[in-house]
């Protein structure tokens, strides 16, 4: 059974750093892109970026570029989302997602077929 298991709730102060994780199981982790999606309280979904676990190649949404880093460690079937300096506006639920078959075109267009989702990690940033 395919599963994406995320790390737990985090409570941080503005300016602090944070790294959350997403471990895949039940499939070959190195052959599917892993993405991250943000959901702010009571709001919709926003695509943040994506990583190829085979070589840690990452792509970012322009809205998040420069504020986050997405990486992976294929030895542990794990992808990461990190911040070096959190803001209160980073308070949200963060989901990791697997990009399903056909999701990445040869020209780099991403068809957002996110076929598996992690359970979500709540990040609270408050002074």
């Amino acid at each position: 059974e395919v599963q994406l298991v995320q790390s737990g709730t985090e409570v941080k102060k503005p300016g602090e750093s944070l790294k959350i994780s997403c471990q895949g199981a039940g499939y070959d982790f190195t052959t599917f892109w892993i993405g991250w999606v943000r959901q702010m309280p009571g709001k919709g979904l926003e695509w943040m970026g994506i990583v190829w676990p085979g070589d840690s190649q990452a792509r970012y949404s322009p809205s998040f570029q420069g504020h986050i880093t997405i990486s992976s460690d294929k030895s542990f079937n794990t992808a990461f989302l990190q911040w070096s300096s959190l803001r209160a506006s980073d308070t949200a639920m963060y989901f990791c997602v697997r990009l399903g078959p056909g999701g990445m075109a040869a020209d780099g267009v991403i068809n957002p077929i996110f076929d598996y989702w992690g359970q979500g990690a709540l990040v609270i940033v408050s002074s």
């Binding site: 919709g44 979904l45 926003e46 989901f95 068809n111 076929d115 989702w117």
Partner: protein, 110 residues
């Protein structure tokens, strides 16, 4: 402001058919396929429809999607109480150079 526009709410009675719209532009729905997600209260979203009308294994045939021009719709027939959830459409956007989601529609089963 989402690149894809959905009505914030929709409702229907058990057994009825309900349709949720997703309006885009030439840079997204007009040139790429649409996917739909269902988010039950307190849970992660789940892929419901992909590539405009395809259903993943396990999704009931009551759910179907269609696309025309720069708009797409999700239809649910024989509405059931367990369908009460938020529904989001998603597509690629050439102008924003990334996937985009609609703002979501909260479906209430009366």
């Amino acid at each position: 402001q989402s690149a894809l526009t959905q009505p914030p709410s929709a409702s229907g009675s058990p057994g009825q058919r309900v349709t949720i719209s997703c309006s885009g532009s030439a840079s997204n729905i007009g040139s790429d396929t649409v996917n739909w997600y269902q988010q039950l209260p307190g849970t992660a979203p789940k892929l419901l429809i992909y590539s405009n009308y395809q259903r993943p294994s396990g999704v009931p045939e009551r759910f179907f999607g269609f696309k025309s021009g720069m708009s797409a719709s999700l239809a649910i027939r024989d509405l059931q109480s367990e369908d009460e959830a938020h529904y989001f459409c998603a597509s690629w956007d050439d102008s924003l150079n990334g996937p985009v989601f609609g703002g979501g529609t909260k479906l209430t089963v009366l």
